[in-house]
Amino acid sequence: MADVKITGLHKRYSGGVHAVRGVDLAIPDGQFTVLVGPSGCGKSTLLRTIAGLEEADEGTIEIGGEVVNDYRPRDRDVAMVFQDYALYPHMVVAKNIGFGLRARKLPPEQIKARVAEAAEMLGITGLLDRYPRQLSGGQRQRVAIGRAIVRDPKLFLFDEPLSNLDAQLRDEMRTEIKRLHQEIGTTMIYVTHDQIEAMTLADRIVLMRDGVIEQQGAPLELFERPATRFVAGFLGSPQMNFVESRIERADGRLALVFDEGRSLPLDPARASAFEPWAGRPVTLGVRPEHISRPADGTARKPSDQPIDVLIDLVQPTGTRTYAEFKLNGTEVTVELPSHTVEKPGTTIELVVDMSRVILIDPETRDVIPG
């Protein structure tokens, strides 16, 4: 068990790629941290540098209070699960799981007992005599996890462990990894490019972009209060809608005015924060689930703003229906209950929950607080 502290970390590859550009990160003991971001954002490099498979060019890495920059991977007491499982093809499952213990010269009886225990925990006891090539993808992933937990390390590192599995198996293994963390409580750092994995697994999400941390925090905190347009767009599926607009004052109230002529009054409770932006362009960010069909009979909240739209695309998924309409020339996706709208070409009234929308400075792409 250990906390991890990273200070001013830089990693450059030969050939001029500056993969990690000054990362500061403090991970408390026992936390499940997910590094997420688009491919090439430096998240895997950061993980490999923590493991010691890459050398840091600048900055320090501390694990459990010890600076480990000059430690070899084997001396860092971390375990890692790889995307391609990295099982040793010439060893049976039991040998694969016990490999790290053998490398550390533990007595054979103890190795056997610990391998059996880990196999039991992951439900792969029946597979111990098989070779990796005789296993399915999910079983291989279990063995890879077994190889990590059997060593009882200070820190677990996962490098996109589920991306080679099919969708159903991925959901299953995701649940299992989460349960595993609850059981053993060891600090875990998990790299993925999948925002759903990040949201569901993480105690804390660290969202990276171009080698730097864009924002970090609890999953819902990032989801509900993104700091930048990038974060707002990265988390959530379907993606948040972004529509260009400007803030204008009319009848003493602030409203979003679109070039096409429509306008949406801002939520009176939040309007004061946007006072300085009156007369300036902003980007409206609204999640598909925050536009809805007004329910009959229920009182409308003061922040709900009605808007008449012409639906031009309908995608039913069974539980929900995604519909699209144009607002100020931009396609906007909205999530509705099934059967709300059946065909494209219909005009319906929707309401936008103005208490949940975000406004973005189009120049800095930062979310305007308020």
């Binding site: 490999r48 493991a51 010691g52 498979l53 070899r72 991977p73 084997r74 860092r76 971390v78 375990a79 890692m80 790889f82 995307q83 391609d84 499982y85 990295a86 099982l87 040793y88 093809p89 010439h90 490999f99 790290g100 490398a103 550390r104 990796p132 090539r133 291989r140 190889r147 060593r151 590192l157």
Partner: protein, 287 residues
């Protein structure tokens, strides 16, 4: 063979497997003739009495097979000594070449030792015709006393086969997933242990293939042996010189020795057939 059912007018399909594939048999037959006829001739000549060598019509199988050519080739012409020398030199050079070549290839593949130029330079050694280096080598060997010694021949053959070994193993390590060794490093191995417990065992098919190429190259090499050896470290191929003389050609002895020299290659080929195919296809390693 599965025939696909298609709608519409029945397409004219050739009935496979019914008729004899005459073209194929003919082609393979001609090919086999080229391969086997000389072998047969050599085998038969090695047991023919001398009078039958060039008889017209040819003697397809001698009435009185003899082994005198074998005993003469092995003992009178020192063929046995050449065989032993060849075995010592070829096996040692193969072992050295594979050991050094594998380690060097690993270093090139994993650490990009020497950038891209070193790896190309290694292969470029083979662009050099042997004749270009044989004289300086000969003079240097005479200077340091390596001329006509086993050690000298082993070193020369190791150097001469190293480029191919390195390149075969380089390709092999390049296609081996790096994450296997990464896993071993994190699991508690030193780089050296990761190499010996993970990378090398997985590279065995490649090493075997490289070893066979190296061995055959050493076993059949003539030019270096001719220049660098004389009385002590002479190899099997050089013994054949003795069969051509002013008195004529000793067909029987030459054939007998040729048959003997085939032995190790055939035995080797049979023993490692399985590895050879996997090694040559750079056996895909999947976890």
């Amino acid at each position: 063979m599965t025939a696909t059912v298609s709608a519409g007018p029945a397409p004219r399909r050739r009935r496979r497997g019914r008729r004899l594939p005459i073209g194929r048999i003919l082609l393979l037959g001609i090919y086999l003739m080229f391969i086997l006829a000389p072998l047969y001739w050599v085998l038969i000549t090695s047991i023919k009495p001398s009078d039958d060598y060039l008889a017209v019509p040819p003697v397809w199988f001698p009435d009185a097979p003899t082994i005198v050519h074998y005993t003469a080739a092995l003992f009178a012409y020192r063929g046995l000594q050449g065989l032993i020398n060849s075995l010592i030199i070829s096996i040692s050079a193969t072992a050295l070449s594979c050991l050094i070549g594998t380690l060097m290839a690993y270093s090139l593949a994993r650490f990009r030792t020497g950038g891209m130029h070193l790896s190309f330079w290694v292969l470029s050694q083979r662009f050099l015709p042997p004749i270009a280096i044989i004289l300086p080598l000969f003079l240097n060997y005479r200077l340091v006393g390596l001329q006509d010694t086993h050690v000298g021949m082993i070193l020369a053959y190791t150097m001469f086969t190293l480029p191919v070994t390195v390149w075969m193993m380089y390709a092999y390590f390049r296609q081996m997933p790096r994450s296997l060794e990464d896993a071993a490093l994190v699991d508690g191995c030193t780089r050296w242990q990761a190499l010996w417990t993970v990378a090398i065992p997985l590279a065995v098919p490649g090493i075997v293939a490289a070893a066979i190429f190296t061995f055959i190259a050493c076993w059949t090499e003539f030019f270096f042996a001719l220049v660098l050896t004389s009385r002590d470290a002479f190899t099997l191929p050089t013994v054949f010189r003795a069969f051509l003389s002013f008195q004529g050609a000793q067909y029987g002895e030459a054939s007998a020795l040729a048959i003997v020299s085939l032995g190790p290659s055939i035995i080797l080929g049979v023993l490692v057939q399985k590895h050879l195919v996997r090694g040559l296809t750079l056996g895909a390693i999947r976890g």
